[in-house]
């Protein structure tokens, strides 16, 4: 009973907020247009702030003043579909632990940053998509054939990032005989893997593929290709956003016109990684 009343309350609050923010949004756009009158393909005015990772090669990566990666390219495509040209996008760094805050405080308009759709997150933010389905997998040395899945990790050393779902899953389900090294970033994990200190690195397969495709690591490591979870990467939106439908439409078009596959190949293809074909390309969920 109480749960239902809460849901009703939340829905009412959301509606109220949506009404407020559409008013506020208009003001913002006016201010933005006054400062910077850019001529783009008959698109929206002002700028759009998109949260991405800056340190994840192949997905979201800051390369000098340039941003590269699959997440970034998908974000560009979606922004374009919404009417924002490249020069209207403001890239914002969105580290994992700050994504909800950035959305709640209105510091970003949307987030494309290997952001898995989960029920707990849905309580505070909204999602469009998914635009990709990743799965937890293992990265091993290129010449290592002894590890083909998490069951083979018994007694071996494994590296993951502190606080990540991957580290926690290994701890809960497999770590009985696995030694877990937790590092601040995946770059450190790959360093430990190449030096032989650990036997495998674990996180979502596409992130591993991005790491394997970095020129410095190419040929030294490989993705095992036996995913053991399902991570639906969604577009993070503020709870009151009304852009979900438009984004989902853009994602569907992107998949249908072949751009999705092109972007994937261009960004992580060099690692030889193939995404789980049963789940990809995904169909966006209905907007709530």
């Amino acid at each position: 009973m109480r749960a239902r009343r809460l849901v009703a309350l939340a829905a009412a609050a959301t509606l109220g907020l949506a009404a407020c923010s559409s008013g506020g949004g208009d003001d913002d756009t006016d201010a933005g247009a006054g400062g910077d009158a850019t001529e783009t393909s008959g698109g929206a005015e002002g700028t759009i702030r998109i949260g991405i990772k800056f340190d994840q090669p192949g997905l979201g990566f800051q390369d000098g003043s340039d941003y590269t990666g699959f997440d970034v390219d998908v974000a560009r495509y979606v922004a374009d579909a919404l009417g924002y040209g490249e020069d209207q996008i403001e890239w914002v760094q969105a580290p994992s632990a700050q994504r909800e805050n950035l959305l709640q405080n209105g510091q970003v308009d949307m987030i494309f940053a290997t952001y898995s759709i989960t029920d707990k997150r849905k309580e505070v933010v909204s999602f469009a998509g998914p635009y990709f389905v990743a799965g937890q997998d293992l990265l091993v040395a290129a010449d290592d054939d002894s590890i083909s899945g998490p069951e083979d990790l018994e007694g071996k050393n494994l590296c993951s990032v502190t606080g990540s779902t991957s580290a926690q899953r290994i701890k809960d389900e497999y770590a009985a005989g696995t030694n877990l090294l937790e590092q601040p970033g995946y770059a450190q994990c790959v360093t430990a893997l190449i030096s032989g200190a650990v036997d495998a690195v674990t996180t979502d397969d596409i992130i591993l593929a991005g790491l394997a495709a970095v020129p410095a690591n190419e040929g030294k490591v490989k993705v095992v290709g036996n995913p053991f979870s399902e991570e639906n990467y969604g577009v993070g939106l503020p709870k009151d956003s009304d852009q979900c439908e438009a984004i989902n439409e853009a994602i569907t078009t992107m998949v249908e016109d072949g751009t999705w596959q092109e972007l994937l190949d261009a960004n992580v293809g060099a690692s030889g990684y193939e995404p789980n074909a049963d789940l990809n390309p995904p169909e966006p969920d209905a907007c709530a």
Binding site: A97, K120, T162, G163, N179, Q183, P184, Q188, S195, A197
Partner: protein, 229 residues
Amino acid sequence: MDDGYLEQFLSLFDQFDVLGAFWVNIQLTFWAALLSLVLGTVLAVMRISPVPSLRWAGSTYVTLLRNTPLTIIIVFCVLGLWGQLGVQLSPDFQTNFFRLAVVGLSVYHAAFVCEALRSGVNTVPVGQAEAARALGLGFWPAARLVILPQAFRGAIAPLGNVLIALTKNSTVAAAGSVAEASGLMLTMIEFRPDVILLIFFTFASGFVLIVVPLGLATTALSRRLAVAR
């Protein structure tokens, strides 16, 4: 804030071992404080010694370690000492990282302990050292019997600052695969983004609870033990 929200928040403490994580920080702090006090005292003696090469070695150590970010030192302990050189401080996988982190924290804070002690030495009047020499004491007996005991009592406040910094810096051990509070905070934020601010508040107040008594204690001690001159 209705009951449901509060209950959910309290359920966090069942789901995650918050107190256990803080206990790890306290243990890290304790061992690193002990080791860095010993190493820092040795360094301080080197820096005030009459032997030029010892003075040079002491000041080089301080300059190098004090100016290197702690995260780099901790990551080096894991990826360099353990990963490349195969240094094992314990046969147990996780205990090894705990001890490596203690080493990293100690070598870093020893530089600060050394400088705090040197500031304490400066509070000892020159006449004391001259009197010690006049009594026929060599450098080491003079340092041990006359100068250091007074220097310590004059350096309690700056040493307390180093201890407080060390307590908070023990969170950097997360970079060395030690399961302590800041690492747990990241895990909790990852899994419970619905109560993100309360999680943050929990850990912030946890450190306040540990650090405030430390500050009060060192202030009180520095008053009580100061050498009256």
